[in-house]
Symmetry: D2
Subunit: 342 residues, 4 copies
């Protein structure tokens, strides 16, 4: 950590600061450049937050040189993490394809779509049971009944299931869920992250819609620090000034994360764009940029969806998407599972 | 709600849509303009989310004309909400001044600062016991011991206490807290909002750092819909591209919310700017823009703070700030409590 | 255009507004829904800006239903625009690959790099002669001498040249430039756009770093309305809160623009990311998302570059990039020119 | 400047870099901390841009310690700059109040409003003659005729006139303009800034809607470096994700700029919010935060405005605004000119 002191800092204040740093078992090296006093701090600086060091009357700028995250850092674990989910893996040479409706609505809906997806190359089934909704006046999900229907679909198709946990109070119902999703709005719900660190189930950690890549990796670090190494990151678009798309897919996040972390990364083009006709091009882009897979919303009848129908694609579009993407995925070292009668 | 249909919509699809709307007990009026089919929907449209209506192959644009929030809406309750907190009120002609350290650190720290603040015009004492921290490796708050020290400070000074709830699992310890803060990261933790709707304690709802004004009011609506009308909104800066300040204080939020809602609004210039020398000018601006008060971080020794020391001001600066702001507050119809020996 | 009136609008005001609209040769149809007065306006509404209609005391919301841009709109010209630049084309089944250094620095630099690029599949040579620089104290470009060197490189290699115009006062020197670049900072320099509408030379219109897709297409419309149909759009990253990358590449812009406009679209991953190791994955993503090509910075010795060295890749990296992307481009219907001895 | 090297940098590369720095007459001091090589560079580092130093294979991070702007920097000129415009001053203890319509439309409009404004405390008259418009199909301003009408209004009322220059080609017509406005879209039109550096006329430099405070001061530096010290900064709202207001007024910019620069700063709440009912509260906030004044849009009949009618206030509202703000301005050390019969 490099501290650039204010010009108003007195020698007495500087001495005190140096003493304080030494008390924390840190080495501090004072140098002067361009009339500025600069302190280079080394040692276990991770326990100092930059904000703490920016104390009012002494320090003007702080530059971190140590890595803020460790367990998620590729520097300390060069090999890719491969997470097993049911019979499938994420982060390997298998393309991860998670598909399904925004919300589980009824038995017929989820079974119909699950069977079609299974045939056309999906490796996991998604579906919301507990839904975080902006308005208290709209459909909030089928809750426990939704989980029951997802498990039924799993039994019928063999597809592992992925669904969102919105509160720790529901965690007890998630024992048969194969991949627990932490939604964008809970990416910095640190109490939830800490608790999921004690689970064995893999975690799909969506990026908060206004969180930086570093904050995202720090949230993964919260889970991993608790003992659960099976974290998969999902880029789902960030909030910007652009309103033509629902969010702005930060495609650069894919290669950036792959270079800085060993964790698998997938992309959610449905939430990122909110526009069905953009789902295929953005999925293709994600695979070409090095993503380990994608998660998309597919609904048998989007007009009748009880949430996010507008961004869902039809099962037939999903088939076309898989046909388009398979050869690109092959070029990028990812194989696709498509049943023989596809 | 106005639905503008895609040009590709067939008469059959339009008829189906009209039927579907009528099934929801809504009136639907089809008109044609510039070769576009437009449906004006009236009735209880609040249960339709815009997103749901944007179903893939039919609807191009949706324009809401009904108000998305009702209980928080000034249109339906023109009179200002006044919330009582201890002997003080927020939203009345009394300026609300919440001050204190970012984190409660020890007995001496919190008692020293509380006594100074009481004398210089603070109406409530803030201090973090449970701290949401980006890194798992830094100070996470004193937790229950922090709450105990806050209550001690309340006993000594009479100041009502304000502190953040980071998980419902801690709610049982918050029975003596006068004003429960929902932090920016939990503004859309809907499970928490619903539960707080069943409390009697007033709620200080901070704006999420990337949430719109409408989303913020919808979160207030979640609490109010549960039966708790005592919600105070706190603007604390939003995340933008600008890095000179920690966040960007959205000062327009103050008059905008006052015009659209009857709920009290205060401003947190410490988190908004992250820069001590900006705290006074931004507090003045907030009062001049019509805010009901402000919440600021004051620490007896910022250099030694265990969190956010960099944005805290000294007790002496707080005295100067109150002297500067008092006459502006008077001009804006807000009175300030300053003890005689101030 | 749909106008939703404020509830405070009096019948007299409404009548006046209807009269005013009719005076503009527009049809206006007044309907009432949910106690709101709504006017549906049809006819040549393009001359009314939404902002103008939001007049203070009458109109609450404006919804445009007509298309704000016409000449650039795929609805009115379904066929792709193909722009010829030298012997190459953009928007056809040929992958457009523009490469070269940020700034032209000297004869040896530009000739060396141009020859290498020609061999490895570049279709055009870029290089800055006039440089818009944030600081007045750094290198501002070789100006006319830079243009001379670019023309020399064109003569040696046959590559058409692309360079930025920073002021109309230099336009007279651009007669031999094959593709004139309008930089991000000039995307809304309407006086420049209007003047370029009177040129015959194709224009590479970069997206402003905080402009919406609609504003971008409106700027293309400014050029086209002047008589120059040869506009190529270049997405180069937008400004967001994320600081890990220099800008955020808005990859969704590619398929969105292709669907709404017939103009060619390319991507600049060098400026978008500012990180050399991201250039290849982002170029691949752009091609997979349907871009007509890309423009990247290549410098024979980035450490010695006089501007933007940090985001340039080496000629050897460019060769590797072309090898990686060629088969993806083929799958996406775009062929690549690579000389035999590649 | 502090350079933190990548771990892959070889001793040979580091030596070369040190040699290169010395060739630029800079001192370079190599130190090692936490296994990182760090170079502290001192001397005239202003001519190195950070971007240039981030050369691909050597440097990981760059931290500037020298000030990027000098002429605009309060550190090097502690005394406030006071700019004279006609009989008025900006940056002194006089509140600067610029008011008038978005566009000059006809003689009657501009004379009517100018006389009313003069009486109610405006110190300068604004009005657009050349208008930068997003669409080529809407009103583009009266151009030279607009300038003639502004000069007429000045003759009748004595108010100095402020109007926007959209292209250097019109500069010859601006000789009688008292304060030349550089609009947000031209804030980084460096060719224009350089040319205006050679003028004597004061420049009102609006902040680009997505420019940082540092970029804004660097643009002021461009003008000042040319020899024109009379620059006034105008904060007019920045582009963020929030759509409830047209832009987001960055109120923190006011005290931040006042602390870091000696140049006068005013605020434009009309463009910042786009909502007439927010103009007074935001003007009050600006004055309370330390602004030297504000610029607002006033139109005698906003419904009939040919541009931006929706954000204009009525002359009567302007009178009310001045009455509300005068006592706040007095408290903040700024006096207001209101004629006796006000």
């Amino acid at each position: 950590m490099i501290l650039i002191l204010k010009e108003t800092a007195t020698s007495k204040q500087i001495e005190e600061l140096l003493r304080k740093l030494k008390k924390h078992q840190l080495s501090a090296n004072l140098i002067t450049a361009d009339n500025k006093n600069i302190i280079v701090v080394t040692g276990e600086t991770m326990s100092l937050s930059s904000e703490e060091m920016l104390s009012s009357d002494l320090i003007e700028q702080v530059q971190n040189i140590a890595e803020p995250y460790q367990l998620a850092n590729r520097k300390f674990q060069p090999k890719d993490t491969v997470v097993s989910v049911g019979e499938h893996t994420i982060g390997s040479n298998e393309l991860c394809v998670i598909a399904g409706p925004c919300s589980v609505e009824d038995e017929r809906q989820i079974l119909t779509v699950a069977k079609k997806l299974k045939k056309s190359g999906a490796t996991m089934l998604r579906g919301g049971a507990y839904k975080p909704r902006t308005s208290p006046y709209v459909f909030q999900g089928l809750e426990e009944e939704g989980l029951r229907l997802l498990k039924l679909a799993k039994k019928e198709t063999g597809l592992p299931i992925v669904t969102e946990l919105t509160s720790l109070r529901y965690l007890e119902h998630f024992c048969d869920v194969d991949l627990i999703q932490v939604g964008a709005r809970n990416m910095q719900n640190f109490e939830m992250l800490k608790e999921l660190g004690h689970c064995k189930t893999p975690i799909l950690l969506k990026r908060g819609f206004s969180n930086t890549l570093e904050e995202w990796l720090m949230s993964a670090e919260h889970i991993m620090a608790g003992g659960n190494p099976n974290v998969i990151l999902c880029e789902r678009g960030i909030r910007t000034y652009e309103t033509a798309t629902r969010n702005t897919l930060d495609i650069s996040a894919v290669p950036f994360i792959k270079q800085h972390s060993h964790l698998p990364v997938i992309v959610d083009p449905s939430h990122a764009s909110g526009i069905p006709s953009l789902v295929e091009p953005l999925s293709s882009a994600a695979v070409a940029a090095g993503a380990d897979g994608f998660m998309i919303e597919v609904h048998p009848c989007p007009e009748q969806a009880r949430s996010d129908g507008g961004q869902s694609i039809l099962p037939a579009d999903f088939v076309a998407l898989m046909k388009k993407i398979s050869p690109i995925a092959s070029l990028c070292g990812k194989s696709v599972h498509i049943s023989e009668d596809f």
